[in-house]
């Protein structure tokens, strides 16, 4: 278990800057996720922390010591790859034992054939084997120990990859999108199992994914990344409720947050389509973006006029796509099945948003922390 520190790490590939002065502090024993779309630099950062790539500038510290000049094997980290990277011509047992073999047996003892005959090789190998068995039992893959990876299912391979990482008792677990090759059903179960594993082991986990659901459900802290920078580093709920930027707000939450064009008038009030939203700020007049989560809207008798353009009934809830009459923008609203039952396509409705939960962003996408006026909500 160790804390990981990233200080001003930069990595360039030719003209492309993959990481731009990234800094991050991961607490000892925390589960931290790097969340972002492809190309944002999250995998690059993970590989640099692992030692598989070297940064152009900046430092990496693990457990309080700088590791920049150390090879991956000396950094005491373990990694689970997206493709699992199991050695195809070794059995599951051999796959899991390789890290221990490389670490514990000397070069001579590792030599094929004659290595086994050397004195001391026997007890060392037996010790390794029993550890492999322990980990295999813990992950319930003992029956597979003599099979080759090609004979395993996706979920089984993932567990073997986990076992190979666990057997070393590393200080940090690094995981590069380990669930993306599983089908949806398995993924949900795997998420829970990895989270449980983290609780049991207490080791620091650094997890990379583009799936915001994984990030939200498993992590203590999430770093949202985009174009080589960290947009925000906060616990999952904080990202959801209190994002620093429009990009972060849009990234987290399904269905996506609704962003509407609004305006600050001369009095500092935020107007949406000419109507007062109930928010006021101490800023000069100008355009802003008002972002409202789908569940922060309500259908009322008098409010913003809109028309139903699509209803998606999911069972436990419904998502209604509503076309605002005034601005022509479409919002997605989360409704109970009961509320949605009475709606028909093209029906006119009136909308109201909860001003307390509305988020305000300036033209550049940065969050404006506004003040709410009394109990006035969004209405005519």
């Amino acid at each position: 278990m160790a804390a990981v520190s990233v200080r001003q790490v930069t990595r360039r590939f030719g003209a492309v800057t993959a990481l731009d002065g990234v800094s991050l502090d991961i607490a000892d024993g925390a589960f931290v996720t790097l969340l972002g779309a492809s190309g944002c630099g999250k995998s690059t950062l993970l590989r640099i922390i692992a030692g598989l790539d070297a940064q152009d500038a900046g430092e990496i510290m693990i457990g309080g010591g700088r590791v920049d000049h150390l090879r991956p094997r000396a950094r005491d980290v373990a990694m689970v790859f997206q493709s699992y990277a199991l050695y195809p011509y070794m059995t599951v047992a051999e796959n899991i034992s390789l890290p221990l073999v490389m670490r514990r047996l000397s070069f001579a003892r590792r030599l094929p054939g004659i290595g086994r005959l050397l004195p001391g090789s026997g007890p060392a190998r037996r010790a390794i084997w029993s550890e492999v068995r322990q980990v295999a039992d813990a992950l319930e893959i003992s029956a597979l120990l003599h099979r080759k990876p090609a004979q395993l299912s996706g979920g089984q391979r993932q567990r073997v990859a986990l076992a190979r990482a666990m057997v070393r008792h590393p200080q940090v677990f690094l995981m590069d999108e380990p669930l993306s090759n599983l089908d949806a059903r398995l993924r949900v179960q795997a998420r829970a199992e990895i989270a449980a594993l983290h609780r049991r082991l207490g080791t620091t986990f650094l997890y990379v994914t583009h799936d915001q659901a994984e990030a939200m459900t498993m992590s203590d802290m999430v770093a949202v990344m985009q174009e080589g920078r960290i947009l925000q580093y906060a616990p999952p709920q904080a990202l959801y409720d209190d994002p620093d930027s429009l990009d972060v707000a849009r990234f987290v939450g399904q269905p996506r947050i609704n962003s509407l064009a609004a305006r600050i008038d001369a009095l500092g009030r935020v107007l949406l389509g000419g109507m007062h939203t109930g928010l006021a700020v101490n800023l000069p007049p100008g355009p802003v973006t008002l972002a409202v989560r789908p569940e922060a809207f309500r259908l009322v008798r008098a409010g913003l006029p809109a028309r139903v353009s699509l209803i998606e009934r999911l069972g436990p809830e419904a998502h209604a796509h509503l076309l605002l009459e005034e601005s022509g923008e479409t919002v997605i609203v989360r409704l109970d099945p009961a509320e949605a039952a009475g709606l028909a396509l093209d029906a006119p409705v009136q909308l109201r948003a909860d001003a307390a939960r509305a988020l305000l962003f300036d033209r550049g996408g940065t969050r404006i922390r506004a003040r709410v006026h009394a109990a006035e909500a969004l209405h005519a």
Binding site: M1, A2, G51, L52, D53, A54, I62, G63, G65, R66, V67, H69, L70, R71, P72, R73, A74, R75, D76, A127, E131, Q134, V135, D137, A138, L139, E140, G155, Q156, Q158, R159, M166, H169, Q171, L182, L186, Q189, A190, A192, E193, L197, R200, L201, G202
Partner: protein
């Protein structure tokens, strides 16, 4: 990963807190500060540096010299007069340029230009015939259903096992009966069938979506038209690579032309240069090397211009 179970999994071997003794009595590994790091662990993560690169290039250059030496020598000797060739010591460039004499000797003492022309005639004719025969068959084997398809394909596989020199004797007898000995047809005919080409094209055609063919049929194309208008354009890369292989193989083919050709004017490049070697009693190296250079140039040029195709073509012999 199996169903979610309520049963507690067996306890994991949890390591003790930092700094204590690990589960097997070994000292718990701690990441050392740089001052304590073992020397061999201090290597940078990404292998880089001038020394490995120099070593690599040096080794490759050593082998490269051996690979290129014959070419360099060939050109060098083709430029020298006889007394310089047999002089002791080695010099790359001649002191007395004899290039014109050597090359004109090569082209006059034997019909070298004719040999090269024959090379082109033979390779083009062979490839044209191979493509014309192989493409329709490959398409039929890949996409059409008919009784006997499996047997036919089995014969193709069987043909792949047979080295080209095996049918030589009966083919010679047959050609002799037909009066085709010492004719272009005699040289070209046996190579017109390329089971390798059929096999390669079939593998390629199998990857073409069936829907494409159904659509073509609906549009009224006959099967033959489908081969030429639909399959051929799709298979261009594979065909190009195969063309390269065919060109190189048939340009350099020696065994069969040696058997079937008797007159000078029909000789293919390898035959021609062997004939030249014989005729010159092996001492007139200048013109001989000039001749060798002349017949090697078309291939080398083609290779340098279309390297990727060449490599693709030869790599395809690996796709089985």
């Amino acid at each position: 990963m199996g169903e979610v179970r309520r049963v507690e999994a067996p306890p994991l071997p949890v390591p003790p807190p930092q700094g204590g003794r690990g589960p097997y009595g070994t000292r718990r590994h701690r990441v050392p500060s740089p001052a304590l790091g073992r020397e061999r662990d201090r290597v940078r993560a990404v292998p880089h540096g001038l020394l490995p690169a120099i070593a690599r290039h040096a080794l490759l250059a050593l082998g490269g010299v051996v690979m290129l030496a014959p070419f360099v020598l060939m050109v060098s000797v083709s430029l020298k007069p006889a007394h310089e060739i047999f002089a002791p010591g080695f010099a790359l460039l001649p002191r007395e340029w004899h290039a014109v004499q050597n090359y004109s000797d090569a082209f006059t003492k034997v019909p070298l230009a004719r040999f090269i022309l024959n090379g082109f005639i033979v390779t083009f004719a062979i490839f044209a015939a191979q493509a014309l025969a192989a493409l329709p068959m490959a398409y039929a084997l890949a996409k059409l259903r008919f009784r006997g398809r499996a047997t036919l394909f089995a014969f193709v596989i069987l043909g792949l096992l047979i080295p080209p020199q095996v049918p030589a004797i009966p083919l010679y007898i047959g050609m002799w009966q037909l009066g085709l000995i010492d004719t272009y047809a005699g040289i070209i005919l046996p190579s017109t069938i390329s089971v390798f080409g059929i096999f390669l094209m079939r593998q390629f055609f199998r990857t073409v979506p069936d829907d494409l063919i159904h659509a073509a049929r609906l549009d009224g194309l006959s099967e033959l038209a489908i081969v030429w208008r639909i399959m051929l354009p799709t298979a261009m890369p594979a065909l190009a690579a195969f063309a390269v292989l065919s060109f190189v193989w048939n340009w350099n083919e020696f065994f069969w032309p040696l058997i079937v050709v008797q007159s000078e004017h029909l000789m293919t490049p390898p035959l021609g240069i062997a004939f030249f070697d014989n005729a010159e009693a092996g001492t007139n190296y200048g013109p001989l090397m000039a001749g060798a250079t002349a017949i090697t140039i078309p291939l080398v040029l083609a290779f340098l211009l279309a390297q990727r195709r060449f490599v693709e073509g030869f790599t395809m012999t690996g796709i089985k």
